[in-house]
Assembly symmetry: C2
Homo-oligomer: 307 residues x 2
Amino acid sequence: MQESGQSAALQDLDLRQAAIDSCFVELDEEYDILLREVCIRAAKSRISSNDTDDRRIIQAVQALDDIDRNSNELSERLLEWYGAYFPELELTGEPLARFVSTFGSRANVPESHPMFVKASMSMGSELSFADEELLRTFALNICSLYDTRRHIESYIVTAMGSLAPNLSDIAGALLGARLISMAGSLQKLASFPSSTVQVIGAHRALFKHLRGNTPPPKHGIIFNNVVIKNAPWWQRGKLARSFASKISLAARTDFYTGKRDPSIRESMDKKLNAIRAANPSPPKRESKPAGKPGSRGKSRNKKGGRR
Amino acid sequence: MQESGQSAALQDLDLRQAAIDSCFVELDEEYDILLREVCIRAAKSRISSNDTDDRRIIQAVQALDDIDRNSNELSERLLEWYGAYFPELELTGEPLARFVSTFGSRANVPESHPMFVKASMSMGSELSFADEELLRTFALNICSLYDTRRHIESYIVTAMGSLAPNLSDIAGALLGARLISMAGSLQKLASFPSSTVQVIGAHRALFKHLRGNTPPPKHGIIFNNVVIKNAPWWQRGKLARSFASKISLAARTDFYTGKRDPSIRESMDKKLNAIRAANPSPPKRESKPAGKPGSRGKSRNKKGGRR
């Protein structure tokens, strides 16, 4: 009696345990499904929110570069192709594409056009109708690539105006967008020290310097701004340093406040003018620190090289 | 008296000589001007006549390649750019460009479209109006590049039909045009031995073979014709040889007679079928000539490699 009672109790326990276990299994399964769902949703929302303003600008900058490269390549082809029909035409790039898409054959150039004399005296061969049609289509394509390029450019200007007003103000919209693109995001650009901003785009020269005996690069892509490009060579290093520090400041203001702050621009102008006033003429050769890299220095500086 | 008479006579002679000399100088000058004029005209007419039919076709083939490369590059950019807005869209290349240029935002996909469900459930982010407009312009550009590609292709087919009817017949218009382009002109292609035609476009493999211990290439760009591309590996070498010889024959007929000769095609079909019938199954390993290049052979043949 006692034994059977004991075994019944044991059985009962076993059953309970089994029931509890099965409950947990169900819960586990439910939990697994839930977890999976949550993870998928999280991933999807991460994907959705991944498309931030700066990613859009980066895409646009890269599309701009792609279009530049491609429209140049196709223009060269058009130049070679159309050159057989009108070798005297001294146009390249967009003007050439516009000319070909407008007129096609030389015979269609009106008397009022500045190319009329050249067109009527040309030593080029005649265009057949099929050739003319083909060349016009081809040229039209190139024209629309140039149009798209302008469209993208104005898009970048607008987008940068709202994403990074200070950066656009200091560096210009396109250069600012390019800096964001090379840094990876506005956040990354804001986190860079200004000495890094100064040499973004001059990786090769920078690592060559770090490896060995070349002078450090004075400027990366910030060279493309008139502040540096139009400066005499002896001011460029100094200008680049303060220009980069102001860019850094602007990127940080943009990223952390998002508000436009005209004082950055003012202080930059003041600083740059001070540098210009303090270095009116090229330094004398003797006063230079004898240059580690031997004969390099003046001649390379002049080219704005080492980028 | 005699002296003065003599000196007068001498003077007379001198004067005559001077007159004759000056005549010659004038003649020389005239002749120089004439010669110059003739040379310039000759050069001009050479330039005019330089634009032959095959040069036009070569330009078109190169333009085709340029457009291929550029439209691919821009399509990749579009894929990456639009991927942020509609990652589920499994289109690339032209279909993608057509999709984006037609609809722009996912929200515009009509219910009848096969992509409707994916579009309405997409995890991509929303397109702003400015982005949509920009992406559509960009996609439209790519579409028109693809359209131009087709235009050029049909131009080549037409031009090849009148310049090289036999070559188009044997190799196809595009492959024929590409052969002319790589040879430099129809004349040069006609002057090549057929063994050269067989390996046009396989320069690297050919010179590797001539330098050392690799097997010779079996086919250059003629591989692109279905005759060879769709053949089993053990027939390819034999087929390529007779195919190249017929291409050579066709190019010569085109260049020297300019008339269409259907018998070339017939004899080619007969020859190729004979090769196919004579080699129904892959050769046994033992029967192969033990292969200079060691372990190469079967596995590389299969890939149609060595091009």
